[in-house]
Symmetry: C2
Subunit: 202 residues, 2 copies
Amino acid sequence: MARRNDHTREELHELALSAAEEILQTRGVQALSTRKVAAAIGYSAGSLYSVFSNLDDLCWQLNSRTLNELMAALKAVKVASPKTSLYAYADTYLAFAARYPERWRLLFEHRSSDSNRLPAELALRIESLFELIEKALSDLFQDSAEVIAVRARVLWSGVHGIAQLRSGDKLFLHQADAERKMLDALIEGLLSGWSLEAERDA
Amino acid sequence: MARRNDHTREELHELALSAAEEILQTRGVQALSTRKVAAAIGYSAGSLYSVFSNLDDLCWQLNSRTLNELMAALKAVKVASPKTSLYAYADTYLAFAARYPERWRLLFEHRSSDSNRLPAELALRIESLFELIEKALSDLFQDSAEVIAVRARVLWSGVHGIAQLRSGDKLFLHQADAERKMLDALIEGLLSGWSLEAERDA
DNA sequence: GCATGTAATTGAACACTGTTCAAAAAAGGA
DNA sequence: TCCTTTTTTGAACAGTGTTCAATTACATGC
């Protein structure tokens, strides 16, 4: 068998990516293999190499999709007050990490063997995520862009850290509404702490 | 060849673990294979199975070692004021993550295929880490144990999040002393925010 | 010293993995 | 119809985790 022309290059690309996503979500990263993806779409493993340079490449493109979806969810957040926006961003992020744990983990666990740098496309999207937070923070504080940038990353590190420790069952916090309480302590704490700093400087 | 009796079971165990650690640190997780570990200590791959139940088990034990070392470093921190202690804990953690990036990553990335639960031994050590933070926080705030527990985890999520985003080059913060500034914003912000909350409630 | 049992170690085997590439076959053009 | 181009395969290679019969050396009893 050869040359069936069942699908265009683009269709094959999309098909493979969707199948890979499905395998990733349902059976985890360790089950994500070229042969399984190929079998799922009725092609041979070799065919994937006409559409991806290798499995690493496929993973990067999976991450690109995931980040796309995550960013869309974040950008769909209704911007009300800066504070409620920040809460909504955090909620959305935690919800996404909980709904798609494997895809979300791959976002941080995937590294290329040869070069550790992440593709420029992904980098841009991450920067635009920080811009969302920075925007909300600039409405709250009159500090320099540098200070705002630091604070946005600190706030996000906190949210991300909560997501990661929870995802790995490493929180050991056996309380009701633990997540809500943590988000409250983080956001409320940081915002009022930074406000206080502004008052002191004035 | 068979039955050389060069090493006792315990020696073989220790030898293999050290070799695995070396490979992990120098060549990354992906290079960590039974055959490479075995070759490094002059044994065959099958021999490892008399000392570890499988590669997963070896990884858990590697993580146990890493967590041991990390906890020792944290417990060696001179406890001065609560605040300086918290700073020192955070510094120590970030320094450890920077010095042993691969070992530190394995701590969070390793999951068994069959069961996702982490061994009880590791869980205990993580809880004792949180206890360090809780102790420092109880000296600062008169809140309930539940509130302290939440705050300890929030603070640590922040420190951990910074470590992880930095380790994956996902911070995009091109400033001098970025790490110091972030730690300042996190710890100073949270502590003064939580203090303010206490004043309000009083 | 010698047989016997026991414990350690290997190497081959099996079923996987990513990746490459000659060969085959179908589509499209002249 | 012939020829070229493109698509697709399947075999091959080197690597992986894991199991297990076979082998060898040590320890014990006589």
